[in-house]
């Protein structure tokens, strides 16, 4: 099996606020992320597809196709957007790195025409990233 990875970047705004919590609780739990005017990040997304190369093309999945899928499903949906207000898939969810990565996983999983979605790694900054990995991926990373 071969794994191929494509990287894309997008920039977006967000903040953390749960209406179930009081103002003080929101501030206590979410710290400076609770500023309701929002703040932003340059996100880096790495998407890994696992599979056997097609004998005719030598490719697991044409990276051009993967690039187009990432552009359509992720970049157009999230780039230069406010994740709390403009991304319906995140409605009712706190747009943490974990939740945004999981939403991206769910958006991509059914769109991969060859091979299988193996890992979604979303960097919110150089020092923080979330990984979603396939249950069948035995390898610990």
């Amino acid at each position: 099996m071969i794994r191929i990875t494509r990287k894309v970047e997008f920039s977006a705004a967000h903040f953390y606020h749960n209406p179930k919590f009081s103002v003080e609780e929101n501030r206590h739990i979410f710290g400076k992320c609770s500023n309701m005017h929002g703040h932003g990040h340059n996100y880096t997304l790495e998407v890994t597809i696992a599979g056997e190369p097609d004998p005719a093309t030598g490719m697991v999945l044409d990276l051009k196709e993967l690039k187009d899928i990432l552009q359509r499903e992720v970049v157009e949906r999230m780039d230069h957007k406010h994740l709390n207000h403009e991304v319906p898939e995140l409605t009712g969810k706190i747009p943490t790195c974990e939740n945004v990565a999981a939403v991206i996983w769910n958006l991509l999983e059914s769109k991969i025409s060859r091979g299988k979605l193996d890992r979604v790694r979303l960097y919110e900054s150089d020092d923080l990233f979330a990984d979603c990995t396939a249950e069948t991926n035995g390898a610990k990373r």
Binding site: Y16, N18, K20, F21, I29, F30, G31, K93, I94, P95, T96, C97, E98, N99, A101, A102, W105, E109, D126, D127, L128, F129, A130, D131, C132, T133, A134, E135, K140, R141
Partner: protein
């Protein structure tokens, strides 16, 4: 699908690779310039990976407001700007190779109660990295 969260921390420390169980010649042969008597140092980068259910109220596996001070207290304060061989008690009897530093950091972090520590990965330099995921996965 499983979710994990990885946070990257940094510390700067010196060490010397030297084993009391080996002769001076063997130490020199095995550890080379890392055996230099006064020690040398690195800027270490430590990646800590946690797993567990994502809390629906917070959207988090664990709050970084808890993880960061925990790692700071248990690891960074103990290792940063220190001579690992002398200043970290565990390395008085264990060679502070980055393999052993990885395992020691993992051991210190398993006390974290809000999530499971899945992996500790250390970059000793931009060219060398080491990771430990606990004994069960070996």
């Amino acid at each position: 699908m499983r979710i994990s969260l990885t946070r990257r921390y940094r510390f700067a420390a010196s060490h010397r690779l030297h084993s009391a169980a080996l002769s001076m010649a063997e130490n020199e042969r095995i550890y080379g310039k890392c055996n230099s008597p006064y020690g040398h140092g690195h800027n270490y980068a430590v990646e800590v990976t946690i797993t567990g259910p994502v809390d629906t109220d917070t959207g988090m596996i664990a709050n970084l407001g808890e993880l960061d001070p925990f790692v700071q207290r248990e690891v960074i304060e103990a290792f940063d700007y220190k001579y690992l061989n002398e200043d970290v008690p565990e390395f008085q009897a264990m060679v502070p190779t980055t393999e052993n530093v990885c395992r020691e950091i993992y051991r210190r972090l398993t006390k974290f109660s809000a999530a499971r520590i899945e992996r500790v990965r250390i970059e000793e330099t931009s060219k060398n990295s080491f990771e430990y995921t606990g004994e069960q996965s070996v």
